[in-house]
């Protein structure tokens, strides 16, 4: 339970430099971790050992090692050390491309480009990777050191990369390997074809069949082009060929049993290598998953338990949470039966991991939907519901390492492997156990997740950030966003709604004092209309009036958007 003072100082320094967002930090990357309880791999017992790390690599693991020069002594008495976690699938560091609002409309909904239809199999996650994205830090704090990341998009978002969750200046530096697994979904486009899931299913058939034909035609043309017109080329179709030929894997987003059946039915027709990703509830599809030997990436996002809702402070509750609480206090046979069924359903979700283990189905975790701060709690719930701790650890370390071809370098604590470690104050999956530090490639990071309350805005605090608002104007509700940025000691602001451009309309004469904000903006509608704002901020909420000369004044209210909304 004790960490040497030196370490604390180091961490403090690391943190300080981190905040300044500089890359190089610390003095050395060579450590001797002393007297730690090392769990070298899933199933292994904790053994009191020292770990010597040089230049990001585990140099040796064993008792009573000598401290070499240029190496920091890290006393980790009674701390437990595990191999760094590996995310089987995630969007860590991924920033979705912004919607092109001014893109030309297709001539008809049926004639959209591949891109407009959300079919972008050629896109690499790398193109959307942002090394300074906050999610990298968040998931690192949860123990993740390496992740397979997928791009965001529509029906077929694109291909994955494997990244290290270290600090870097740009995305390229994070990349360990280009996994090039293909994320596929049943997502339909809202405005163009395919606009529903039946359209999506039909489109998959066209795409894979044409990938097969494109490959055939290319071969035929290569063999003897005489007298032939060159076959037409499509980047998207070409990108699908390795998947159609089973050279690489298709990760199909399949949260529920129904999706699993559908992805599997399509696989039987089209013959790709199927991985089920972000699985939440397999239910009766377990037999299918077992017999077809489908690898599963289980979502670390369980439905919220009833008692968790009650745990929040009264002030932090949303109105509907209060209603939900009131509802749990009410009682009737009907409600009790519904509650019992709902609890049974929640339990079934919690038990999926344990069931997979018992069925002998290989699985790891998907973080596509996960919140970094909930991960340890969620894993605990799975363990409580029957998942063995060894299997849970394997799903976090050795299994993803093997799926991603990283077994030689990652997943266990062994000599020669990358120094990716999770340092905990208690054995993993034990109640109240905390990740104290995470090491990635020999560099130490603070693992503690601060329990601090979200920054109090207003009340002398900052209003920086995004705020959603609702106003009722002449019988209709208008919803939009305010964005405030600090400009020296004052603020700048924009209002963004359906009536403004996507960049928003500037708030002029913005004054913020004593929790009160005033300013105005102009809207173009049959001439320029001036709209005045007078808002009063209280914590993460505000209320006030919007007035339009000649139309009157209307109520407006809103709340702060969570800071982590961006990923």
């Amino acid at each position: 339970m004790r960490i040497c003072i030196l370490l604390s100082v180091l961490l403090f320094m690391g943190h300080a430099t981190f905040c300044q967002n500089t890359y190089k930090m610390g003095i050395t990357d060579n450590y001797l971790i002393k007297n730690a309880l090392v769990v070298s791999k899933p199933g292994a017992a904790p053994v009191k050992q020292d770990i010597l790390i040089e230049d990001g690599i585990i140099k040796s693991v064993g008792p009573n090692q000598k401290l070499p020069l240029n190496t920091l002594d890290l006393s980790c008495d009674s701390m437990y050390i595990y191999a760094g976690f590996i995310a089987g699938a995630s969007y860590i560091g991924i920033k979705a491309p912004e919607e092109k609002k001014d893109a030309p409309k297709p001539p008809s909904r049926d004639e959209a480009t591949y891109e407009q239809s959300g079919i972008t199999p050629q896109v690499s996650a790398l193109s959307q990777l942002n090394a300074s994205d906050k999610s990298i830090e968040d998931f690192r704090k949860a123990g993740f050191t390496v992740a397979q990341v997928f791009p965001k998009g529509g029906m077929i978002p694109g291909q994955s990369s494997i990244i290290s969750l270290k600090m870097a200046k740009d995305g390229d530096e994070l990349v360990i390997a280009d996994a090039k697994n293909l994320l596929s979904t049943f997502t339909s486009s809202r405005l163009v074809a395919p606009s529903t899931q039946i359209g999506v299913m039909a489109r998959y058939r066209n795409l894979y069949k044409n990938a097969e034909l494109a490959d055939k035609n290319a071969m035929a043309y290569k063999t003897n082009p005489v007298g032939l017109k060159a076959p037409s080329f499509s980047e998207e179709i070409a990108a699908l060929i390795p998947f159609q030929k089973k050279e690489r894997n298709v990760y199909f987003l399949a949260p529920k049993a129904k999706d699993i059946y559908r992805a599997s039915a399509l696989q039987k027709e089209l013959g790709y290598n199927l991985y089920l990703v972000d699985v939440k509830h397999i239910g009766d599809a377990m037999d299918l998953v077992k017999s077809a030997k489908l690898p599963v990436l289980l979502s670390i996002d369980l439905p919220e338990k009833e008692e968790e809702k009650g745990g929040k402070s009264e002030k932090g509750k949303k109105p509907d949470e209060k209603a939900a609480e009131k509802e749990t206090k009410e009682s009737s046979p009907e409600l009790d039966s519904l509650k019992a069924k709902k609890n049974a359903a929640i339990k079934a979700y919690e038990e999926e991991a344990g069931k997979l283990e018992k069925a002998g189905i290989s699985f790891t975790f998907s973080l596509l939907d996960a919140k970094a701060t909930d991960i340890s709690k969620t894993l605990m719930r799975m363990v409580d519901a029957g998942l063995s701790k060894d299997a849970a650890l394997a799903a976090l370390t050795t299994t993803p390492a093997s799926w991603l071809g990283l077994s030689k370098t990652h997943g266990t604590i062994e000599q020669g492997k990358v120094a990716n470690l999770v340092i905990m104050d208690k054995p993993i999956f034990e109640k109240e156990g905390k990740i104290k530090m995470v090491m990635i490639e020999g560099r130490l990071f603070d693992g503690l997740v601060a329990d601090k309350a979200p920054a109090e805005a207003g009340k002398g605090g900052s209003i920086e950030g995004s705020w959603t608002y609702v106003t009722v104007v002449q019988g209709g509700e208008e919803i939009g966003t305010f964005k405030f940025t600090k400009d020296g000691s004052s603020y700048k602001g924009v209002v963004i709604s359906d009536r403004t451009s996507s960049a928003g309309s500037e708030i002029k004469d913005l004054v913020f004092k004593d929790n009160k904000l005033s300013g105005y903006t102009t809207v173009d509608a049959d001439g320029t209309i001036k709209v005045d704002f007078n808002l009063t901020f209280d914590g993460s909420k505000f209320t006030g009036k919007v007035s339009v000369p000649g139309m009157g004044s209307f109520d407006i209210s809103g709340s702060k958007k969570p800071d982590n909304n961006e990923f």
């Binding site: 109105p319 509907d320 209603a323 009907e334 039966s337 519904l338 069924k341 609702v470 509700e477």
Partner: protein
């Protein structure tokens, strides 16, 4: 022989062509009697079932008894082996104010605005709406036709399904409609978020209370002014005027409410306003709180019966059994279809309620004497008794059975032509001439 037959066909064809050219809704005219319906099985509903005669004269049931003598000029109709029932009453429809549902310009029951209690459904009833003859030949003689949408969409009216102007059709009962605020989600494609829905719900509750408070104030000031022989308010305020009648308890309030929680809210709301003469309408989830409704003493117009349960976890048959559960809990019930063009299915809605626990007798009461009582018209409608309006029909079997033929309908004593667009098209097209070649 052949020739005669052809002549008949030609005459019939010309007649039909003429009929459709004039867009008439029926062929033939109603006749006024008097009529002596002899030797029928008379289901009086209130006074048992007797075999005897029934005399229709001057729009009324002049007498019910055995061996009635034939008055001068009366047409005798032999009803041996036939049954007589009072005309069925549908407690909630849009009949007469809607012609083609998808064409908004033919819909006259949903005025713009949340607060339009001064709208009168009766004003917009088209006596020649094509659905009216289609409905009445099924034995449904009388319906509530309601305005809809918004909070206070206007006044509904009870109409008889025969007449050439709304006054002739008006059956003596009106009620202000309140579509009680609901927090229900509307189907799978409901576009509001939970928060938006909640907000909208709270706003409409607040609107209701604000409006009510204003109407109460209006009523108070108006009564004082009237007592002083003066006119209160220079401004024309028809909304407040209309609602003040409800506040005063002079005009009944038809409260459209379906979801359990909404019914509870409505009952609580009404409890705080004891003057209001309320009738619940819809009441789809009444079965969940039947005792509470019974305790409130408000009558309930239940329906449609042929409807899906409102919740996935509900038993499949709750809409079928709802009326029976409410009746058994002691609620005075009537039935409604909530229909426009298919109000003719009222006997089938009643039949399902009967099959699922209500029983045939109670089910028939729920479409005859019960609604009459709920509307305060028990002296003129709802049963076959001397002195009542002659709304009745002759049939050859159980009126709820689809296989039964409704042979003759009387409304306000008028013997109605037993045809409609549906029968006329049947007559023309069963054996179309020319056929294929």
């Amino acid at each position: 022989m052949m020739k005669t037959k052809n002549t008949i066909y030609i005459v019939a064809a010309i007649f039909l062509a003429l009929g459709s050219a004039l867009h008439a809704q029926v062929v033939g005219k109603a006749s006024s009697g008097p009529f002596l319906l002899k030797n029928a099985e008379i289901h009086t509903i209130t006074k048992g079932t007797i075999t005897g005669d029934l005399l229709v004269a001057d729009g009324k049931i002049a007498a019910v008894g055995t061996n009635l003598s034939t008055p001068a000029g009366a047409q005798t109709i032999d009803c041996t082996g036939k049954k007589l029932y009072p005309g069925m009453i549908d407690g909630g429809t849009f009949l007469g104010t809607a012609e083609v549902n998808s064409i908004s310009l033919t819909i006259d029951n949903n005025e713009i605005g949340n607060l339009v209690p001064h709208m009168e459904a009766l004003t917009a009833v088209n006596p020649n709406a094509v659905a009216i003859p289609v409905t009445r030949v099924s034995g449904v003689t009388t319906v509530i036709t309601s305005p809809t949408s918004g909070l206070f969409p206007g006044k509904s009216a009870l109409i008889n399904l025969f007449g050439y102007n709304p006054e002739q059709m008006y059956a003596g009962f009106k009620a202000e409609v309140l579509i009680f605020p609901s927090n229900a989600r509307r189907g799978r494609f409901f576009r509001q978020s939970e928060e938006e829905q909640k907000k909208a719900y709270e706003k409409s509750l607040k609107d209701l209370n604000d409006i009510w408070e204003a109407a109460s104030t209006y009523y108070k000031l108006d009564s004082i002014a009237m007592a002083g022989g003066k006119k209160f308010h220079e401004d024309y305020q028809p909304e407040m005027k209309a609602l003040s009648e409800v506040v005063a308890g002079k005009m009944p309030l038809l409260v459209e409410v379906n979801r359990k929680e909404d019914i509870q809210a409505a009952l609580k709301w009404l409890k705080e306003r004891p003057n209001v003469k309320a009738i619940l309408s819809g009441v789809a989830e009444g079965f969940k709180i039947a005792d509470e409704i019974a305790k409130s003493k408000y009558p309930a117009i239940v329906g449609p019966i042929l409807a899906l349960p409102g919740r996935e976890h509900d038993a499949y048959d709750v809409s079928y059994t709802n009326a029976s559960v409410l009746h058994k809990a002691g609620v005075k019930i009537a039935l409604r279809t909530g229909e426009t063009e298919n109000v003719r299915n009222l006997p089938f809605h009643a039949g399902f309620a009967a099959a699922y626990g209500l029983g045939t007798d109670e089910a028939f009461k729920a479409v005859s004497i019960n609604p009459a009582e709920i509307f305060g018209l028990e002296k003129s409608l709802g049963s076959l008794e001397a002195g009542k309006t002659a709304n009745l029909f002759i049939c050859n079997g159980d009126p709820f059975e689809p296989s039964t033929t409704i042979e003759q309908v009387f409304i306000n004593g008028w013997k109605i032509p037993m045809n409609s667009r549906h029968t006329l098209l049947y007559d023309e097209f069963l054996e179309r001439t020319p056929g294929v070649k």
